[in-house]
């Protein structure tokens, strides 16, 4: 929105007139009704469950409806160690979610492999295969951390544009909706990372590591 329009809006609100745009209204509705997928991988999932219960109460943010089917979910919380055997299933579930969809990588394992990083069967971060919106470090992160990540995601959703070149990926009709699912080969997962979401960099020596 242009600056003079913003000023006009503030001026109007000072005089008791509330104005909004379709985009703001849409994003306001979206960010307050994010439905996560019922999906837990390891100990972080216990913290995720605690977040939804009465003490921390994720329902305050409109995200208490954990859906048992990816078809109805907006958010996948990758909560825990992603083994190489589990990674294809995570990507497949993400592919089956309808757009717009979001990912929170919860805990040290989900963002980097964590204490099991050197294990032969542990994926070094789920961001190698799917685009992660919010990373939460911690082992495990406390429910407050998950709530903070959720609020960060809400801010991100609130700022997404519906039109223009900066609109999010799912609004580009020509971009595919599915991300390639890695296959379990002789030496770990093939390919080791999806170059579209995990770009190979010269200063990133980890890019070739499984």
């Amino acid at each position: 929105m242009a600056d003079d329009l913003k000023e006009l809006k503030i001026e109007l609100s000072k005089n008791g007139i509330f104005t909004t745009t379709l985009e703001e209204l849409y994003n306001w509705g979206r960010k307050n009704s994010v439905w996560p997928l019922t999906f837990g991988l390891a100990c972080c999932a216990i913290e995720m469950i605690a977040t939804t219960m009465a003490r921390y109460d994720l329902a305050r943010f409109g995200a208490e409806v954990f859906r048992p089917s990816p078809r109805q979910a907006d958010l996948i919380i990758v909560s825990g160690t992603v083994t190489k055997k589990m990674a294809p299933q995570v990507v497949r579930l993400y592919n089956q979610m309808p757009e717009p969809k979001y990912v929170i990588a919860m805990g040290a394992c989900a963002i980097s492999g964590g204490p099991f990083r050197d294990g032969y069967n542990v994926l070094k971060g789920i961001d190698r295969y799917i685009p992660v919106d919010v990373h939460i470090p911690g082992c495990p992160p406390r429910p407050e951390a998950l709530i903070h990540a959720f609020m960060t995601l809400q801010k991100k959703i609130d700022q997404q544009a519906l039109t223009g070149e900066s609109r999010p990926r799912h609004l580009h009709a020509d971009l595919p909706s599915e991300f390639p699912v890695p296959a379990y080969g002789d030496h770990g997962l093939e390919p080791p990372a999806n170059p579209d979401v995990f770009p190979a960099r010269a200063d990133n020596p980890l890019k070739v590591l499984q």
Binding site: P70, R92, L93, N95, H170, A173, S177
Partner: protein, 126 residues
């Protein structure tokens, strides 16, 4: 109806049209919104039937062991029969002879099943 020269049912028709529009307007708006702001993106995995992350293997048309018929009989005798027995007992004095006979035939069939299950030793355990 004072001041309404039309048909006496005109108000009902107007309300009916309003009610249908109230239901269809959000659907139409959602359809329009999806048309402009939600491009269709089907894919092989998105359109697949199974949705727990794993790829489905094999055929769903498999054979079940015929030995499960005993469980079916015991389920009919102790579960389905009880559901029918309660209304039967409640309406017993008001039933006609035909209805009573039909119910007794049903009971007889299930009692046969009970005897059969008893003879097979299903009802003895531990």
């Amino acid at each position: 109806m004072i001041g309404n020269p039309g048909h006496p049912w005109l108000t009902v028709v107007a309300l009916l049209v309003g009610a249908v529009a109230f239901g269809f307007a959000p659907l139409a708006l959602a359809w329009l919104w999806a048309r402009f702001y939600s491009p269709q993106k089907p894919g092989r995995e998105k359109n697949s039937t199974y949705e727990c992350g794993l790829e489905s293997k094999g055929d769903a048309w498999i054979q079940f062991g015929a030995s499960y018929y005993l469980y079916a009989i015991v389920f009919l005798v102790f579960d389905v029969e009880a559901v029918f027995l309660l209304p039967f007992a409640a309406a017993f004095t008001a039933l006609s002879l035909g209805a009573c006979l039909a119910m007794l035939v049903f009971l007889l069939l299930l009692v046969e099943g009970l005897v059969w299950a008893c003879q097979k030793g299903v009802l003895t355990w531990a």
